[in-house]
Symmetry: C3
Amino acid sequence: MAPQYAPSLRSRLPPIAFLLETVFILFFVFYVDVSYVHSIRFYAEFQDVHVMVFMGFGFFSTFLVRYGFSSSGFSLLVAAMAVQWAIVVQTLLHLPYLGRMRLTIESLVFAEMSAASSLIAMGVVLGKTNPVHLLLMSLMEVAGFTLNHWLLQTLLKVKLQHSLMLLHIYGAFFGIMTSWTLGKGIEPRHEKEKSDRKMALFSLFGTLFLWMLWPSFNSLFFSTIAQINIICSTYLSMAVSAVTAIAISVLSNPRGKINMLHVQSGILAGGVAVGATMSTFPLPWVAMAVGLSAGIMSTLGSIYIKPLMQIVFKCHDTCSILSVYGIPGILGWFVRLFLQLANSDSTTVAVRFAAYHITILLITLASSVTLGVITGVILKLKIWRPPQDRKCYDDQAFWEFPHLAERK
Amino acid sequence: MAPQYAPSLRSRLPPIAFLLETVFILFFVFYVDVSYVHSIRFYAEFQDVHVMVFMGFGFFSTFLVRYGFSSSGFSLLVAAMAVQWAIVVQTLLHLPYLGRMRLTIESLVFAEMSAASSLIAMGVVLGKTNPVHLLLMSLMEVAGFTLNHWLLQTLLKVKLQHSLMLLHIYGAFFGIMTSWTLGKGIEPRHEKEKSDRKMALFSLFGTLFLWMLWPSFNSLFFSTIAQINIICSTYLSMAVSAVTAIAISVLSNPRGKINMLHVQSGILAGGVAVGATMSTFPLPWVAMAVGLSAGIMSTLGSIYIKPLMQIVFKCHDTCSILSVYGIPGILGWFVRLFLQLANSDSTTVAVRFAAYHITILLITLASSVTLGVITGVILKLKIWRPPQDRKCYDDQAFWEFPHLAERK
Amino acid sequence: MAPQYAPSLRSRLPPIAFLLETVFILFFVFYVDVSYVHSIRFYAEFQDVHVMVFMGFGFFSTFLVRYGFSSSGFSLLVAAMAVQWAIVVQTLLHLPYLGRMRLTIESLVFAEMSAASSLIAMGVVLGKTNPVHLLLMSLMEVAGFTLNHWLLQTLLKVKLQHSLMLLHIYGAFFGIMTSWTLGKGIEPRHEKEKSDRKMALFSLFGTLFLWMLWPSFNSLFFSTIAQINIICSTYLSMAVSAVTAIAISVLSNPRGKINMLHVQSGILAGGVAVGATMSTFPLPWVAMAVGLSAGIMSTLGSIYIKPLMQIVFKCHDTCSILSVYGIPGILGWFVRLFLQLANSDSTTVAVRFAAYHITILLITLASSVTLGVITGVILKLKIWRPPQDRKCYDDQAFWEFPHLAERK
């Protein structure tokens, strides 16, 4: 391993990928079938989520000037693996009841949402890891998220739609703890951790796909009648948080200039926050107020909390995941609590619900934080051939460039 | 205000944005509710229009080499504000009848179409204005368009689908009059008013989204049976105008070379023109002939009329909006007249329809031209801190670049 | 014709384009009508295919560093012409039965699939041809493909869904034979046949659109119940081939680095291969195994077979079309044979089916190879003003750049 070259992944990535694929295919031979009963009512919305996961999350993180291939390519690798793994884990959990899993569009949607959760986690450590790290991390995250989801559904009788919207919180805190344990990127701003005009536009492209299709993401598991409410609320909440993100970015700059990366962090907050409140069917103005608060908190977070975390907690967060998904997710969770309390008649019911609601959050946080730390410890092992610090945020470590023109 | 810096918007944009959002949210508290009765039949088509407005119009204008952040970012800001404002204006107009507005997917579609109209207007003044200008302009445009639409529906009993397709004409002439009154960009070609290979590709991306999804845009408010006709007609018309735009671009160049910006102007013309004829359900060949004529007129317009307007009328049109939306819109309007006349049996009915049809157009033109001039006068006020001429078409005036790499 | 300039297409492209458009419109006047009976059940899936053809195929080939305008612009031109021409050819073939053609969404889908087939063929010769070549080639290809499809349906009673999935094989071999006959690009690697970071990302964008929306492409002509099977199978197959493509790319590089162009070639293989097997409704694991094999073969093909073809057979394949569409298509065809044989009870039936199935493939190959050679001979004529070898892979030969900034 010559010091001037990045460690080769030839002996790591392909064996792991082919081993996993072989195991998955064998598992599918024995346990997975296709359903013929369900309608494909979901299909258009499923496609929206599919585009969000592979195009949206894939290009969301392409802003790093020398890391565009890695951001988009590794997202594809991780998400493609995560959806298969999510189906395997789902099937394992349902085997005792169902014998064989019968795939439906719903199963794919669930798999996509798990993949989204692991892509959120991946956003924290991006640039400081190699694709083997990212694959392992996503296996852990998807397993943890699915297990947590199943436990909440089984033990606490949490509804599917309610529990699923914890994916943002789960992914964000999992990723942050992994990054903290890994302890990379904590030195002052890395020279290559920059953007440029065109990479930021690619990133805006991805972000806009997430932003535009978010109503489908939030409404997927609801009945047709409820969907209108959810589509309208998510739509309005995101419109407000887009305006808010730009306004806050202007306000926080001494010369009144907008920072594209702060905007990209802030505009999604409304969708994340309102997602968690969906099962209470908020009124339009509530959704807008949530979008406003989430937009403010998220944009301020990516401006002030991100550097603070790096200095104080020695925890580096490449895509400001804490601000984009973590904080708005928790905000939404408490808004839902508040809305439910405001609607309840008796104090006993209200207190019981509050305890129940906060317990769900705490279980989820505990599970994601613990698993994140464990994953970080595993990823620190030298056998995964981590990239040198010099090669962080650099495609050259993983991608072949001889076919590329020297000077554009 | 040091002369070498662009005037800061810190004291303008955030207060206006937050004031508006607060007013909107308060308005929604009292007057807007969610409907539970309607089906979500519209949803897939609505998403297409949503993508057109935010992705299509947003990236349509990213061709300016140093103005990519502004083109896409300000479109997002303006559109996100315009959809909320359009719902407010709609609600105000319907309050006397309905008490509270009940949001449906249709309301959102109408809001998106109003936003599209204001983004069309914005394309004329892009690069010569700041985001505060654009926000104010879009508020005026959406209010004017919605009011005009409501007047035509109420007083002249114009059908919804018929009146809605005036959005291109309304936006185009509104924008042109604003630009003319504003009187910016009339000097010979600005040094920064250029494109480059990659920015033109981003712009083609946006244009293609508009182009591809236009059948949904035209068919949205029709019954299921009529939709097939409209989808096929729009589809064919746009295919013909894409071919035409490229052919005309080759023909107009002495050395037979294609100009990407002329192509982007021409390919949308078929969809705009045929949109106005939709309520007569034209035969496929009629739609194709309309696409051919619109493609020719629109491409020639962006090659010859745009510079002429700049020299003769001292009116600068950044994105050739007159040619892309104005001319094809008016062409379509007269094609519809002609088709209706060809189908009518008696001369009296025909004459009456012609008078009625042209009155609608004249009212719309008068309304958009008047309001455009008024808006231009308002935007000329120094309190909005207009960008210096030197800083036109330059992101540096509004966007922070320290986080960006110096060289590529 | 000064030697330092590329030959002008001013006297070639516009006359051909306008002549064709006039003929098409006249044809539509007499023979094409709109249907009012069909539902628009297909519309969301149709839009997916529409996006695949115009955005996906259009940007799939933008990786060439100096050929982005041509790749995307000529794809638009060719596809817009091909869909109209496909409707004309379809109508001609159905005239004896139907009198007038009645357009439905199905007709448009068929037209899009024919256009996709001709865009596949175009990928082989891209960069070594001018747009007049590409137009002629696409007219020949669409006519040949539609005729072959009609013959198979009429004479051999092949099912629509079965015969349509031959489009990949037809397009690939047609294009390869055209390129071989044309005999361009066979010298060692052309200096301009390179990519750069941003062009490769544009290309990844296009590829991802193809990749994401492929389930719609494969499922379009099946009943609702069958669609779930096909969507799930295509989805899983593509997920596996995405992982495989990346793993093989790492494995084939001595230093374990990924090549973005190889990945883009490999990730689509699963969708192509599994498309041909769809009418046997494979189990999920079969689809995944097909995706794995197709991914391996396709990625290896683009690494090793492409240069071999260039050296040994003097046949240059710009976008590795043989590996991306040809090989996976044939693999899928044999998998379908194998699946059918495994399901059949009697040997007689099995042998008869095998003979029938292989006959279909051979007829298709013979037809595409023959027509490809004929097309190549026609394209060699000097009257089409071929680009000089120096100007291959260069936008400068066809696009006007004075409006562009000199240095980005």
